[in-house]
Amino acid sequence: MAIKFLIVDDSVTMRRIVINSLKQIGHNDFCEAADGREAITKLVSDPSINFLITDWNMPEVSGLDLVKSIRSDSKLSSLPILMVTTRGMKEDIIEALQAKVNNYIVKPFTPQVLREKIEQIVSTTPA
């Protein structure tokens, strides 16, 4: 399955690190957004995006609000979502899972963990 990633993070540094990690594990198709609002615009305009990697703490629309917005949209609701964030408290993780993220990574992460989570999501997501 060819994966086109949308990487959503307000930090330019983090977007580059995620992209470099994706390249490292063999993925080369991605686009970027700096917050939830821009992400929604990109998702609507580019139907080839089939995997979302998002941060939580972002201005305008947060990552959690983005997830809720996607899950409540009939056209986007099945999009696989991986949250990559600094928030490692139990209540945060539970809140994200309740919002229906497919998996969750706490920063700092490694490409190995990223690969593992992407593979887990892809293997459990219907084609």
């Binding site: 690190i17 470099n20 703490n57 928030r87 490692g88 990574i105 706490v106 700092p108």
Partner: protein
Amino acid sequence: MQSNMEQIFKKLGDLKDFFTYGQKLAPILQKIIDFMQDTVPLLETVNKSIADSTSKMPKAAHQINNVTSATEVATTEILDIVDGVMLDLGEISSQINSFQVKFDKQQTLLVKIAEKYPRDEDVKKLIMNEFDSKYFSDDVKDLSKLVSKINDSMMNITLSLQVQDITTQQLLSVNHLIQSIQEKLSSLLVDLGEKEITAIDERFNNNLSFNPEARYEKNHSSQVLVDSLVEENRSAASQKEIDELFSKR
């Protein structure tokens, strides 16, 4: 008449008690007045000091923001360099591969020449001299290993730069705290009659989202917690599916 006199004497007695009490109280009152007189300049100093500190807070917040911006610029520069090195390493890798291909072709050619002139000792010698395949192959392997090692190091540098995002969130949290304290102190000083204190530039803190608990920990203990919660969540989903399956029967 007698009872009136008794009342007068009683009142005089009360008055005497009051004066006696007043005499005892006078030094205490004097001490309180002295204390108050000593305290006023002290309170004025405290007030001035708070006003001074409060007025310095916007500068402190501004400096923290400068640090955040500077680290972001520096991180971007490092990432540019790392990307450049990784690109060069990719180029070196492909060059090594193309050398290997050329060498393999050369080897095949030499084998063919040797087969064509099986009795020519000069050709044999010449080929033996040029045909040191093991030496070349080991060199290529070593070089490839070295390139791979440098590539891994570059990737580790990239990953370590996640610290910039994490410290930025911590600094934003500190700035938010400074802004809250400054607002409270400013309102206190205004109540005490000070003129309006310069507020922290709202551009720095408005509309920012940060995690005050952000930590740069490489032991990945939080990820272990995440994995167990995700697993629990997945099991719960499976149970739901099982229940649905049974309800269909």
